[in-house]
Symmetry: C3
Subunit: 337 residues, 3 copies
């Protein structure tokens, strides 16, 4: 329970109306008495009056309308304010991780752990590992030899950080993620595959978030690189020697094959695939489930998905698609005088 | 080894022919002496005589034919009977998990564990967690603060159940699944991403099965909800605030983006993607690898997959596809008188 | 640091030029003084002179050119030589896993562990398990009852090997992989799903490599089978009763549905999906992200991906695609005299 004035004091904005106590943050549609909600744009003005929220965060353009129904906090960038509010709120409600090293953790004597780290049950920290100040390793985390976890990074339960991999500062790695498994490299030889040992590592910048069960492979010779501020959702696959530029974001189930180079400020939609050795310029945006089969050197939005349809229609169109090139030739012939 | 009469006594059905001893359950094609197999429909009648199974489970329409070759159990719904038989069989052959709490498990003193729970090696149970009667947690399971595991649920090795998440009764969660990682929520701000803390949880109903390495994210403000009887295969991604209606089933590698609402009794094929904020009515069926880009409000089967072809043909048709709109215009012009 | 003559002595090839000391293996583009690089084909001859590598591995056709710039090792199959070189190099730089059983591991008294095994912290080995000579189980590995791990196999951190599953010799299973979760089998019954217990196991041959967070389900009645020399990348899903023939390779995020039979020497590209019960002949190659919806009984390359385009063009072509069958009819009408 927090007062609106406390929030304004902490996060800024202008409080209009009564200084109410807030019990929870809610979406506009499911808000109830005690809820604080937000309306990010004037175009959602219609939804204001239908909501049961006790208070609203709104842009200046909605102030008059919102004030008629009750208290509000007026801010210029509502969504950004809301993001900061969730961070503040979480700090209030979270139980802090106990600082120190759990009695069951196995820490190699050559590892170096800064003060103020939090190491959970059954954590294994290998030879020569460095864990910086304020870092938190939850239960069952494995950090292998010579790896580094930067200041204030939070490694959730069951994560594996492989040998020599480097995690920057303020990173969040969710449960089950695997950093630094071997890249998929084999030389074909007389009908079999000869393993190419993966001698590189993974270097992860600062403020990177990595989703649950996501995999980032170590490089073959050089390292796989994830730059500052990159956000990867769950179940994402990053192949060896991929380079992802700063502040790019990849949604769930996306896959990036080996040696692809994704620029800065890119977005890749859920389930999209980027083939190996391709280059995406900065500010390239790939729609969900699209397959990138060539380098994309101009910023912009790119798509390639078969449109969904009722099954009977799809079957007809898909069958015809296999004759498309022939149909084109028939059109050509028809066009001849 | 079980006698046919034991099965009939336990599961019903009519035994015809000798009361044989059965050593194993087998598919019709690989059955040998000692095998019990099943034929679910009369249209598979041809396969009967070729099988070496000692006994068969069959529908009434095949009774005469089957009896000529040996013993059989006649039942109305063969496939349902077979499912129950596998359950009975498993009980006979399985070693029961030892009840009690393994000496290595770390259980927070504020957690409440009912009698008859089975807690494996290296399990970590956090503050205020409740584990109901008959629940089983295999090795390396992590259940975080305030989470609940319902009666007779079985959490396999290496699963993470996050803070405040609720698992219903008789659920099965396979190894490596992550329940309650943060949803993928960020506010864009001056070229970077500001984290929106995910304050909701995950609520899972009764009789839900969740596959290996599947991820279900916690909600941003409200909860992510999986209703009773839902079945999720392996490596499925469920985004924050998704709602999946009762008895829907999603096959492997399917992905459902944030705030999508899938109705009851739906099926989603392997590798299919449902984009965010969409609504699927009850009894909607999505073919494998299709991408749902709009709400589907009528029951039915929907598809959208590029048909596979030999590579040379595909290349021609795919290249032509990029001119399809132009081809349509050329057809229009040809149609003009 | 190794001398070129040491490499030639160990791996073969002809040393031409000075016997330099090598500090690292590098790609041609990022090589520096002290680097050993390789050029696999004469068609890359142009890149030779631009590289700062101290020495090169080259085919005989490039020997004259290469020697002008410095030392080189001449071999017939450069890529195969390079693969073997990475293996040799890794042995030099790796810290050997400590042999023996870590004090925290929980080993069932009925399990049988050969001499020379390496068992890491928090490993759990269940009833009747057999671990063969030279096998290595990293931290947090779970091997369930009656499972077998073959000689010299390396099971990385956090892997689960389920009951009765068999892993062959010299296998590598990367972190988070789940071998032997239940297949996805249910009988529909009055609007609900009745579980079909999965009574089979998983049998993995020799020299198989399995990627991080990959899942291989146990069979329903018979076993799921992965033959010798198969390579699976990360986040791959293998359904129950799938059979993968020797030396086939599946790239990241590929999914193979239940009872599919993939031949020997096949390749499946990243994100591709093979539907259930299909058969792929030996030497079938599936392009990335393609969906196999029918059996492919002839060797060859097969593809089926919607070509990516700028979003505006894609929208036009995708919309038109939904009228493709109708367009075909219009072409037919135009063709009528």
């Amino acid at each position: 329970m927090l007062r609106l004035s406390t929030l304004v004091c902490e996060l800024g904005g202008e409080l209009m109306g009564d200084d109410l106590s807030i019990e929870r943050l809610s979406p506009l549609e499911t808000a109830e008495a005690g809820s604080l909600s937000f309306v990010s744009h004037a175009r959602f003005a219609k939804l204001l009056n239908g909501s049961r929220a006790s208070a609203l965060i709104i842009p200046p353009s909605l102030a008059d309308q919102a004030l008629q129904r009750g208290s509000c906090i007026v801010v210029d960038d509502v969504y950004h304010y809301f993001a900061r509010l969730t961070q503040f709120w979480k700090k209030q409600i979270s139980v802090a991780a106990p600082s120190g090293i759990h009695a069951t953790a196995v820490i190699d004597p050559t590892a170096s752990l800064a003060e103020g780290v939090s190491i959970g049950p059954f954590v294994h920290v290998g030879q020569g590992v460095r864990i910086a100040q304020g870092a938190r390793l939850d239960a069952h985390v494995t950090v292998q030899a010579q790896a580094v976890v930067g200041q204030d990074s939070h490694i959730h339960a069951n994560v594996t950080v492989g040998e020599r991999c480097i995690v920057g500062q303020r990173c969040i790695i969710h449960s089950g993620a695997v950093i630094g498994a071997d890249g998929f490299g084999f030389a074909p030889y007389q009908g079999t595959w000869i393993k190419i040992e993966q001698l590189g590592a993974v270097r992860i910048g600062d403020d990177v978030e990595i989703g649950a069960n996501t995999c980032i492979d170590r490089g073959a010779l050089d390292d796989t690189v994830i730059e500052n501020g990159v956000k990867l959702d769950n179940l994402v696959q990053i192949g060896h020697n991929v380079h992802i530029g700063a502040h790019s974001a990849l949604a769930g189930c996306a896959g990036v094959a080996g040696s692809a180079h994704i620029g800065a400020h890119c977005t890749v939609g859920g389930g999209a695939v980027v083939l190996g050795h391709l280059k995406l310029a900065d500010h390239v945006h790939i729609s969900a489930a699209s397959v990138v089969t060539r380098s994309l050197l101009k910023p912009g939005q790119y798509s390639g998905v078969f449109p969904i349809d009722d099954n009977a229609s799809w079957e007809k169109n898909a069958a015809t698609l296999k004759q498309l090139h022939a149909l084109r030739d028939r059109i050509k012939r028809l066009e001849q005088p």
